[in-house]
Symmetry: C2
Subunit: 355 residues, 2 copies
């Protein structure tokens, strides 16, 4: 019986992807060698990197002026990397503070210049996407976190800030369509909708780069990596390969628009139940709810042990909420089937019917 994997990340990947990844660790492309023991400069791996970059451009409908890189360090290094590539010396940038990861992004950017926090929902434990004020004059970009994994909130649509956008899309990249033309840069750790841990994708407008006047360390300089086709140094071979397999799976299943429809069906199912079932309440405000991570709790905490026993018996995994919020969190990334959400809803209803 298959596990229903609601883990917040690293998280569920399509079974076809896992099978092909395991096979490639055994032997890759009939070479008589494992994927992880060949040179990254071999034609077999260069083809992997190129296809992953091209497929990203295709699936996200990126303008020609965009480049795509697969690097290392996760979004945590991305916070600093984004700012050092785009924030001029003596410059200023606007940041929206919508959760733990936004706050971390702000902290790193503040090492580099003047940061205006134009909106924050910290006071209400990040239970909503904050409204924000217009960025001040001479703002280079506005940075936001498109989906807040911990709190279960998500920007309903791309914000209109009047300045170029920069976004950390780690937990909703490839889950819905958006217009990349509004961005100078977006970045995303792979370990939600895109692949396994170990690589972070940067997509950026090449024309917006190299304008800060800064001396940037080579590994943090996106133009250095772009000039080497994302192979400035040894890339995280396995993570890029499994990301490619996941992107192929997205394409074979109809692309990002189809993923979005599926994700909306899943989130609709769980939120309808949270709102209907008298035993539960949601954490996030209704208009800020995430299609990726539904946060909710039992109104009567004495039922916790019973509920936990029931969902574990149903082979549900990874449902425990983050310690900052408590309760439960159902993460429903692309690879999670609707059937898994239905299983969870069935358990919630069974608990209700126990009375």
């Amino acid at each position: 019986m298959k596990i229903h994997n609601f883990s917040a990340g690293p998280c569920i990947l399509p079974p076809e992807v896992l099978n092909e990844a395991a096979a490639a660790v055994g032997e890759f492309n009939g070479l008589g060698l494992s994927l992880i023991e060949i040179s990254h400069r071999s034609k077999d791996f260069v083809a992997v990197m190129e296809e992953a970059r091209e497929l990203t451009k295709e699936l996200l409908h990126l303008p020609d002026r965009f480049d795509v890189l697969f690097l290392q360090g996760g979004a945590s290094l991305g916070f600093y990397t984004a700012a050092i590539n785009l924030l001029p010396t003596e410059g200023r940038a606007a940041y929206v503070d919508s959760g733990t990861w936004s706050a971390k992004a702000i902290k790193e950017a503040e090492l580099l210049g003047k940061i205006d926090v134009v909106g924050s929902s910290k006071a209400s434990n990040y239970d909503r996407i904050p409204t924000f004020s217009a960025p001040p004059k001479e703002t280079s970009f506005m940075h936001y976190t498109s989906n807040n994994t911990i709190f279960g909130t998500q920007f309903a649509s791309t914000p209109d800030a009047g300045v170029p956008l920069v976004a950390d899309m780690s937990s909703d990249i490839f889950s819905r369509t958006f217009d990349a033309n509004l961005f100078h840069l977006f970045y995303a750790g792979a370990q939600k909708n895109m692949g396994p841990a170990g690589t972070v994708m940067y997509a950026f407008d090449k024309e917006a780069m190299s304008q800060t006047g800064r001396a940037i360390p080579s590994y943090l300089d996106l133009t250095v990596h772009a000039g080497k086709d994302s192979m400035f140094n040894t890339p995280p071979v396995f993570s890029v390969f499994v990301t490619l397999l996941t992107l192929r799976w997205i394409k074979a299943n109809g692309g990002v628009a189809v993923m979005q429809k599926r994700n909306e069906a899943k989130s609709s199912l769980i939120y309808t139940e949270i709102d209907r079932n008298p035993l539960f309440e949601g954490h996030a405000h209704v208009d800020s709810r995430s299609h990726m991570n539904a946060t909710f709790r039992l109104l009567d905490e004495s039922k916790t042990e019973r509920f936990d026993t029931m969902w574990k018996s149903a082979k549900i995994s990874g449902l425990k909420g983050h310690r900052s919020v408590g309760g439960y969190r159902a993460s429903m990334y692309n690879a999670l089937p609707l059937e898994s959400v239905q299983t969870l809803v069935d358990v919630m209803q069974a608990l209700e019917h126990e009375g």
Copy 2:
């Protein structure tokens, strides 16, 4: 018939490691889930990270005051990371320039302070480990590259500089014993003797940290990672796991001292043949020869096509030299069996006997 994998990196890993890695991508620890779809905060993965860190300390006989981290970005980010953690503002450091990677390390460190290049073999295309002059007064550390993959040179022993050492050991870590007490820090990309691409190991004296007076970006601050047990952010799960498997294999095979004996036997076999066989000459000076990467060339280039055909027929892979040196490079990391080197020597002798 098994391939003889002489690739310079990513490179050969033990077959047992590859088999276990492939199996874990299918299912890990009987969880019903893949290694790459579980939370990095799960007890199953935390145990992986802890064992990898502890086994590193054990196999390298690290003093208690040392900490070990598995991060991302490779040695290329390590060049900057090492300097920003150890070079005080207004400080100075000494660097030995023994090859391409040393030169890159110098370039990154120069962003942060005064760098004294105390020795260089660049003028002779890095065909030897340079002698170096005593570092100037007020030098915080001397940095060197212990093994130069491209040129096939290696420090015969740990240099005596009169100041604390910092080293990039990417291509010879775990291949020979050394005294860690002489170091403030050493770091190594995993993809040679330690595991697959995608993680870099930092080992450092905790007491030498936090003395630069710098504001360090969080991801580059080794004390930040140490404070979170190498889990400040999502680690490169697969790469750390396969590194752990490789470390277990080193331990099960007798530890680093046994690896060193095996590596000396392999390098002795190939260098004896290079020196004996009238068709070949080595690139590196004899007293600078690497036990990891033997660089050599045909004296008569017209025999190139024939030699290439012969070694390829013998199922030898990855023997082509780096473009900076030309000729051939036999990389003989821990997992390469003596039998593979013997196969190469047999081919070299067969070429000689063709006349």
